[in-house]
Subunit: 231 residues, 2 copies
Amino acid sequence: MISILILGDGNVASHLYKAFSKVNTIVVTKKNSRNLTNIPNTDITILAVSDDAIAEVSSNIANSLVVHTSGSVAMTSLKNKGRKGVFYMLQTFSKDKNVDFSEVPFCLEAENEKDYALLATLAQLVGEKVYPVSSEQRKALHVAAVFVNNFTNHMYKTGSDICSEYKVPFAILEPLIKETAAKIEFLSPAAAQTGPAIRKDQKTINKHLALLNKQQQEIYTTVTKSIQNGN
Amino acid sequence: MISILILGDGNVASHLYKAFSKVNTIVVTKKNSRNLTNIPNTDITILAVSDDAIAEVSSNIANSLVVHTSGSVAMTSLKNKGRKGVFYMLQTFSKDKNVDFSEVPFCLEAENEKDYALLATLAQLVGEKVYPVSSEQRKALHVAAVFVNNFTNHMYKTGSDICSEYKVPFAILEPLIKETAAKIEFLSPAAAQTGPAIRKDQKTINKHLALLNKQQQEIYTTVTKSIQNGN
């Protein structure tokens, strides 16, 4: 039996609570992080709070093992007196969408092997993909995630804006978007690169630039240059 | 019965040939575009040649209806004396990967309704998604495709480079990549945007920039600015 306290009231806290509640060998309690009285004593305390609140909330927890769920905060930012760890799930959590935890990578860190093993056991009770990731690696992963998720989404947004302007249904692009994402499961992104930039097809590049607004041109030029430099 | 001649020897030509060959009501011939003698007289002649070759190859074809398969060349660039059209499939074709034509959007254009109907019939014999797309719309689609496919792939590449540098398996990011692509089927890219840029979280942005090389910083800054400007 593992006892868990989740502190937080955002999407991560509620999805985790839901997942843990379904497991017989987990006893889970969830509390708002603004109310730190009557904290139950649990095996693991999970702070699913904003990055800025981690230090302060953790300084008020006397439980033995306190972990946070942030991608960009070091383990040492926890200010509890007991042991520290990280229980970071690299996935986007939306309020209204169920999370398939079997697809979520759990990136775990702890101060000692026993705590790591406990966090790994917990992760495996709800998920399948468990990785040991140090604070420095997690920071790098978090930046990499910004590129593959946030910036990729902005590429979709730009494509969608161009479609709107020329009255073409964005749905035409959806199969290509799916295919582009599916491709990298069997081909490295470097090997999968196609298009006018990598071909150095300046004639097509110029035609494209002529269709874009200033901000779109800036993205087009910067990314094209980076592709051509082999970055 | 529809008779088709495909001129070309790239991936588009060979995938189309394979798909048409399976249909009873299509008779298809494929020829190398460098050998324009003994051209059979067919209902539709499909030029699956490079953009630069379209004008010249088409000027040598006497068949009634000649179409090209390019995303970035206007229908009027065809120089055959007969009727003209476009049979553009918006998808990436790899040499060694089978194409699921039911997922491929066919973007069609013709000079008259009868020819458009013939091209649509042909497309529906191998596929499901058929759209009327003018030359101007097609040009816009082609640029939009560069963003959602080529540039997105470069975001994956950058994420992959960051992972390599910090010795984190890129596989950790694959579920997020899939989720990001899947999300826009039920959420507009504008509504799906998350991350430090849209939150104007300058503290996290600065931490991220400190981890990146100069070229990566340039992409990070340009895309962040564009997200924040609501572009």
